[in-house]
């Protein structure tokens, strides 16, 4: 059974039918839910919002939805690899490559990135004493562009097949000569669209952090998460254009018959260089914000000032800077010659120095503290040894001759999962548990949180530690199977067991959200964790203007200083007066929608879709340029939970 969808033959086999069915059922469920609980209005308010914390919630929700999808892909991958020459459902050969590519691409671009950006949206304005981001409209637009890109990559599976060339999409494999199906077009368009959103976000946070700090919030008084956001924004600003160029070349080669990346007419190494000039900083784009979260969480729950604040900041900047000088270590086996390999080996190793500084500073922050083990702290503590394993294997990978053995083997798969899951994902969970009460006004259940943490951490080590050994036993990455005589069965089976344990752990997390939403007490006050930074001086959830009066800040950890030395109040920097707030608008969502239609038209090569998309986007841009988006005046009210000004 099959049908044609804009020239692409879609065969209705069991997995595709299951895909359509799940989309259909989830759609029905969403409509029923929204209607039954009368939530259409609430949804529409979120669609139109330009407010940073609501955009943050949108980012977090979409990110977690994609997390479930990409996690399902991971379980399919692990099910296929559980036994030698296994035939799980249809996921061998090309279908396996679709799963593996979607898993990687989604996890990097549509899970880790939006969850990190979501937390930035939630926390950064509060941490620096700002009422919103510098460009609220742009912020909403960033989200909708990200969602459009993510939708393209995710829908591809049922509309002619997902991308198949890995998340790195190496050419010539990714060119239409070798992968003529539309999958890799979805890759190049999806990432371009979401990439615009990411770039806009970076500009937004740069301007916000530079310009919108409350009086006295000097750069060297900012919390580490804000610092990490600043450095990350600079990395995005310089790294993403390289990806955009690469994707553009790929798109032209695939769709319009140019040969820039082809092996004969062009040069396929251009792709590798451009991709990794983006790709390596991308790793730091993912990990630096997590470092920031850990710094904030560890100081809060160890009840201590951050050990070596300035060297922590310098280390962040240094890691960001060095992150641009190491991309060849992904290409040691290309054969670029011993000199370039040696130089990049040394630059790669040098990143271990600032990273080491950070690890030891965290350890010495804990030393002499009074540690409470709430869920955010557990995730942060679990991070330290897990991430160090990923870090030391990173140094091992930098030793060029040894890398000839590790490269593209399961050793590398183990390594980067230790870095990204053991670093970024644990950081995201720490951040979510930490800022959840601030965002929603109730806590996530700590007992369920601990169950979530331990099952996740143990599952994580069972899944990924064996991968190092698989690599040393000769298992290349991205294979859909192996032979019984390879001696890899036990390791792979263990890894699969661990993966399903992590899947179960995510169910505990979802259950926790539901349980806490139903049963958690609603009175958390302004400061449930006995925090140190100024986001804990305002009510939870904060009013839409965040601060009725902006606080005046005299030091880092200003809120902790105030609690300790100034009877628990911060000085106000202004009198109560009406505040200009941005208006809601549906235009960002509409631009995202037209971008989706246009990109879809490019992928399936249907001119009227392209035209509608183009006219829609340009029309809305023109409209927005000539129309005053307006501001509304809001009169702030003081709140008993607000610890700024007065009551001296």
């Amino acid at each position: 059974m099959s049908f044609y969808f804009f020239g692409e033959k879609i065969r209705l086999v069991s997995d595709i039918i299951a895909g359509y069915l799940s989309i259909f059922l989830m759609g029905i469920a969403a409509v029923v839910f929204l209607t039954y609980y009368k939530k259409w209005g609430a949804l529409w308010r979120y669609v139109k919002t330009t407010h940073h914390s609501k955009v943050g919630i949108l980012y977090l929700s979409a990110g977690f939805a994609f997390f479930l999808r990409a996690g399902l892909d991971a379980l399919i991958i692990r099910a296929q690899l559980a036994l030698p020459q296994n035939e799980f459902w249809v996921f061998q050969g090309d279908k396996y490559n679709q799963m593996m590519t979607t898993h990687g691409t989604t996890m990097i671009f549509f899970v880790a990135m939006p969850l990190i950006i979501g937390l930035m949206n939630v926390a950064v304005p509060l941490q620096i004493g700002a009422r919103d981001l510098a460009f609220p409209f742009l912020n909403a637009l960033s989200f909708w562009l990200f969602l459009a890109g993510g939708a393209l990559i995710n829908i591809s599976f049922v509309l002619g097949g997902s991308p198949t060339a890995g998340w790195t999409s190496y050419v010539p494999l990714a060119l239409d000569e070798f992968t003529p199906a539309t999958g890799n077009d979805y890759y190049s368009l999806g990432l371009q669209v979401s990439g615009i959103g990411t770039l806009l976000t970076a500009i937004n946070f740069l301007v916000t952090i530079i310009n919108k700090r409350t009086p006295g919030m000097k750069l060297m008084r900012m919390p580490l998460f804000t610092w990490a956001t600043l450095v990350t924004s600079i990395l995005i600003l310089f790294a993403f254009p390289a990806l955009t160029v690469a994707l553009l070349l790929l798109m032209f080669d695939r769709l319009y018959g140019t040969g820039m990346l082809a092996a004969d007419a062009g040069n396929s190494l251009i792709w590798q260089h451009l991709f990794w000039i983006f790709g390596h900083p991308e790793v730091y784009i993912l990990i630096l914000p997590a470092f920031g979260i850990f710094s904030d969480v560890i100081t809060t729950f160890a009840k201590k000032r951050l050990f070596g604040y300035s060297s922590m900041v310098i280390a962040l900047v240094l890691i960001g800077f060095l992150g641009f000088m190491v991309w060849i270590h992904h290409m040691f086996t290309v054969g670029l010659g011993p000199t370039s390999n040696a130089i990049f080996a040394i630059s790669t190793m040098s990143i271990a120095v600032p990273t080491g500084i950070k690890i030891f500073n965290w350890l010495f922050t804990i030393r002499g503290g009074v540690i409470t083990f709430n869920t955010p702290m557990l995730f942060s503590l679990g991070f330290i040894p897990s991430f160090v394993i990923g870090g030391v294997t990173g140094v091992m990978l930098a030793t060029v001759p040894a890398d000839y053995q590790y490269h593209d083997s399961y050793f590398v798969v183990g390594h980067f999962h230790y870095v990204i899951v053991g670093g970024t994902i644990l950081g995201i969970f720490a951040g979510v548990y930490y800022w959840w009460p601030k965002l929603f006004g109730f806590m996530l259940n700590d007992v369920l949180g601990k169950w979530h943490f331990w099952t996740f951490l143990i599952g994580f080590h069972i899944t990924f530690f064996p991968m190092h050994i698989m690599g040393l036993k000769g298992m290349p990455r991205r294979v859909f199977t192996y032979l019984p005589e390879d001696g890899l069965t036990g390791l792979n089976l263990a890894s699969t067991v661990g993966a399903f344990m992590m899947g179960g752990s995510m169910m505990i997390f979802l259950w926790n959200i539901y349980q806490s939403y139903r049963h958690s007490p609603r009175e958390v006050g302004n400061d449930p964790w006995d925090g140190r930074t100024i986001e804990w001086t305002i009510p939870s959830p904060p009013p839409e203007y965040n601060f009725a009066r902006l606080p005046k800040v005299y030091s880092s950890d200003a809120w902790w200083q105030a609690k300790k030395y100034q009877n628990g109040r911060l000085e106000a920097a202004e009198e109560l007066s009406p505040i200009r707030m941005p208006l809601d608008t549906a235009k960002p969502m509409l631009i995202g929608m037209f971008m989706l239609i246009g990109s879809f038209g490019i992928i399936v090569e249907v001119w009227y879709f392209q035209l509608v998309g183009l006219l829609g986007v340009i029309g809305l841009m023109v409209l927005h340029s000539f129309q005053d988006s307006g501001r509304k005046m809001v009169t702030p009210k003081t709140h008993p939970d607000e610890k700024i000004g007065g009551e001296e």
């Binding site: 090309d94 490559n97 060339a165 890995g166 190496y170 010539p172 494999l173 070798f178 092996a263 004969d264 396929s268 201590k304 000032r305 070596g308 060297s311 086996t333 290309v334 054969g335 010659g337 011993p338 390999n341 040696a342 080996a345 040394i346 190793m349 080491g356 030891f360 350890l363 804990i366 002499g368 009074v370 540690i371 083990f373 330290i384 040894p385 160090v388 394993i389 294997t393 140094v395 091992m396 030793t399 001759p401 040894a402 890398d403 000839y404 053995q405 593209d408 530690f465 050994i469 040393l472 036993k473 000769g474 990455r477 991205r478 859909f480 032979l483 036990g490 390791l491 089976l493 263990a494």
Partner: protein
């Protein structure tokens, strides 16, 4: 708690694998190149263990010692902002450790490169990667083979790599680390195997749907065995063929020879579109997927793509009668260069 878990996990895994790390391919080198790579791996593991152990010990001590206990103050007076001497210590010691690692890394990188470039009487093998099989050309010997690369022991081998289609990567863990086979580029790699045996190799760069089965073997043999094999490859099948084998050879010439070479037979299409089958019967598996026996060979002929995703070979299900298939299989099963090992 956490330490206990990790320790348990490692122990559990060692039990599961049921063998010592000394048997893991990368840690069990059989060539000069793989040995020098292993020595760097060992050095880096040793140095990194120092880091890992230091961090783990400090972490455990601090977490245990400073956990909040009943009766403790909720606040600590210890709000030290930092300590210059400590911070300089943990900047300098890592630099020292990394220098100890960086020096041999750089030296070995250049050493391996020099060894690869110096020909000094080495056996040169031109390796061309195809979706999803490896072609081995011996330009000095005038022979071509696939699936099993034969090389003599204790003699330097230089592998010259290129690709016909997508990027592949040549990796034989026990003989040395990998090198990419990029279309339009030449990759080079060398090693001196120091023990006879058969070693597994695979493609390490994602190259398409059949990537997992793009495997091969390297057979390291004595000089005389190698000579005998080369001679065998050059000569037409020396044993007299049975009736059915002769019929099979005719079918092969009619249908298969357009793409596949065989003993004494060159493929009609130039540029090696398919693996050379001159030593087919000695292969352990068909297309590196199914164990090499008659039933599986029939399965393969009927539907190659079902057996190996992305295989270029078309189905011959309807092209032959059952009898013709039997004859062809008889012929293919006779293609064994080594006398006496014939099945």
């Amino acid at each position: 708690m956490e330490k206990m878990n990790k320790f348990g996990v490692i122990l559990f895994l060692l039990l599961l694998t049921g063998c010592s790390p000394a048997k893991w391919d990368v840690l069990n080198p059989k060539s000069s190149t793989a040995e020098s790579q292993l020595s760097l791996i060992q050095l880096s593991i040793a140095l990194m263990s120092i880091v890992l152990i230091t961090v783990t010990v400090l972490f455990t001590v601090f977490v245990v010692k400073y956990r909040k206990r009943p009766g403790w103050e909720t606040e600590t007076e210890n709000q030290k902002p930092g300590d210059k001497r400590l911070e300089i210590t943990w900047t300098l010691i890592p630099i020292l450790i990394l220098t100890i690692l960086a020096v041999p890394t750089v030296l070995d990188t250049y050493k391996l490169d020099r060894e690869t470039k110096a020909s000094d009487g080495a056996l040169v093998v031109k390796v061309t990667a195809h979706q999803f099989w490896w072609e081995f050309d011996y330009p000095e010997k005038g022979i071509t083979t696939s699936e099993t690369l034969h090389v003599p022991v204790d003699k330097k081998v230089i592998i010259e790599l290129t690709s016909e289609d997508t990027i592949h990567s040549f990796w034989v863990p026990q003989l040395g680390g990998k090198q990419d086979a990029t279309p339009g580029r030449k990759g080079k790699l060398s090693f001196v195997p120091n023990e006879t045996g058969v070693y597994r190799g695979s493609c390490a760069e994602l190259c398409g749907p059949g990537h997992a089965y793009m495997r091969f073997h390297v057979k390291v043999e004595t000089e005389s065995e190698f000579k005998a094999w080369v001679d065998g490859m050059k000569q037409p099948n020396k044993t007299s063929l049975t009736d059915s084998e002769t019929k099979g050879e005719e079918i092969f010439k009619g249908q298969c020879l357009s793409c596949h070479g065989s003993q004494g037979l060159e493929p009609k299409v130039s540029g090696s579109p398919a693996p050379h089958l001159g030593d087919f019967a000695s292969q352990k598996r068909i297309a590196n997927v199914l164990p090499n026996n008659r039933d599986n060979l029939k399965k393969w002929l009927d539907d190659p793509r079902k057996v190996k995703p992305g295989a270029k070979m078309p189905s011959f299900k309807t092209d032959f009668t059952e009898e013709e298939k039997e004859d062809l299989i008889d012929y293919l099963m006779s293609l064994n260069v080594k006398e006496g090992e014939k099945r």
